[in-house]
């Protein structure tokens, strides 16, 4: 064993004084820095390095969760979901106000409140006014819910279709409320990429309108393409939008990426549930002159699904990260 290997082994033993999560986040870097600062031929950590590592390991442990970057990653993910969710809801709200894009005549006054609320969330959250942003997000979630609920008596299928939007609004409101307390969180990287993805998706939507294809929340109504359009113009645009959004998501870093997925799991779960679990209900409810209303057990499933989806995603995330840490520790033990 070389002096270098011996020194590294001793530093790694000292690192065991740190909490597991801190080691997972920083051990490789710290050992690299310690070795870079070591004298040639040095076999043992200096007394000052030993003391520094042990004192700071104790400080990190005493700080408890402060040494745990998991909490930070959750807050960063929540901030990304807050901003991007508000941006998406703003785009959906604005789209409904644009002339020629509404699928029924006239615009309800309530529809002006939707984009206004989400624009306020975006501006206030970006300006760091977290409590006021939370108020705007809660107002936005209430407006989204009321806006959808007013259709229930004559079109429950429309309510189901907009279920993912309401869920997203609630996720943004809850994320905002959580971010209102505690320390400030840095702005997520590449928010403009999400914005660009959204702009390209909106362009795709406009192309669909031009070709006689209309996308309403969660569903695509297809009509026959005109013979002058041999393919769907919006296809490449949606691919570009997905690539931009995927790139922006990837740039957030592993821990934040995984937590963004967990936070948005309720939205995906509701969209999947409505598309696959309620397909029969939606088809049949549109066949009768008077709408069929949802039954209590169906409401229970709809309300429980987002909560369960988040709980399952959080448990899966936690287990996956613990397993990864154990595998990493095992790998290091083998290497040592």
């Amino acid at each position: 064993m070389t002096a270098h290997d011996e020194l590294e082994g001793r530093y790694r033993r000292l690192m065991t004084a740190y909490p597991l999560r801190h080691r997972r986040e920083y051990e490789e870097e710290m050992v690299g820095v310690l070795l870079a600062a070591a004298e040639p031929g040095q076999r043992r950590p200096s007394v000052r390095d030993r003391a520094d590592l042990l004192v700071n390991a104790l400080a990190v442990r005493l700080r408890g969760c402060a040494g745990d970057s998991g909490g930070d990653a959750w807050r960063r993910a929540a901030h990304a979901v807050q901003l991007v969710g508000a941006l998406l809801l703003l785009a959906v709200g604005v789209r409904r106000l644009l002339p020629g894009l509404t699928f029924y005549p006239g615009v309800e006054p309530l529809e002006f409140a939707r984009p206004a609320a989400w624009a306020a969330v975006l501006i206030l959250a970006s300006a760091g006014l977290r409590r006021v942003a939370t108020g705007a997000a809660v107002a936005g979630a209430v407006v989204e819910t009321v806006h959808v609920a007013q259709w229930y008596d004559y079109s429950p299928s429309q309510v189901l279709r907009a279920g993912w939007l309401v869920t997203l609004a609630l996720v943004v409101a809850v994320s905002s409320a959580w971010l209102a307390g505690g320390g400030r969180v840095a702005a997520p990287r590449g928010v403009w990429l999400f914005g660009a993805a959204l702009a390209v998706a909106v362009a795709g939507n406009a192309a669909d309108q031009y070709q006689g294809l209309s996308i309403f929340p969660g569903f695509l109504y297809r009509t026959t393409l005109s013979s002058q359009f041999p393919f769907r113009l919006a296809g490449p645009l949606y691919l570009v939008a997905a690539a931009l959004a995927g790139w922006a998501w990837w740039r957030q870093g592993g821990p934040v990426r995984r937590r963004i997925l967990a936070l948005t799991a309720p939205v995906a779960a509701i969209a999947a549930l409505v598309t696959y679990g309620f397909a029969g209900f939606m088809y049949s409810s549109q066949q009768f002159p008077s709408p069929i209303l949802l039954r209590p057990f169906q409401w229970a499933i709809l309300l429980a699904t987002p909560v369960l989806a988040f709980a399952l995603a959080a448990v899966a995330l936690n287990r996956w990260e613990r397993l990864s840490a154990l595998v990493e520790l095992g790998r290091r033990a083998e290497k040592a």
């Binding site: 710290m30 402060a66 909490g71």
Partner: protein
């Protein structure tokens, strides 16, 4: 001494790490070297202190990871100042400057009063 002059919430290592990152994104060892230069060799951050500070600063949103590299089979992570970190460092810097100016002026007045003003 510096630590007593600034906000107790921002200790000397924290202030120095932010100052180092204000120049450009840097990895851990480069921050140690830069801090040594900034302080004319008076302060040498050790790994435990540095990473405790980096962890806290990341948690507070004052710095973030810019990129990661693997150099000679070792992870090298570059940290950079966030907009919030820049504001916080500017506030602390302005406060230090204001206090140092007052201290300097009072020392000059004192020397004049005692009749031993420098030529």
């Amino acid at each position: 001494m510096l630590a007593r002059m600034i906000d107790p919430a921002m200790r000397e290592p924290t202030f120095l790490v932010l100052t180092a990152l204000a120049a450009e994104p840097q990895h851990g060892y480069a921050v140690i070297e830069d801090v040594r230069r900034i302080t004319d060799g008076r302060v040498t951050l050790r790994a435990g202190t540095l990473y405790a500070a980096l962890d806290r600063l990341r948690g507070d949103g004052l710095i973030e990871v810019e990129r990661e590299e693997v150099v000679q089979s070792r992870l090298r992570r570059y940290y950079r100042l966030t907009a919030l970190g820049e504001r916080r460092l500017a506030d602390e810097s302005a406060r230090l400057l204001q206090q140092a100016t007052v201290a300097d002026r009072r020392l000059r007045d004192r020397r004049i009063r005692l009749g031993n003003a420098p030529a």
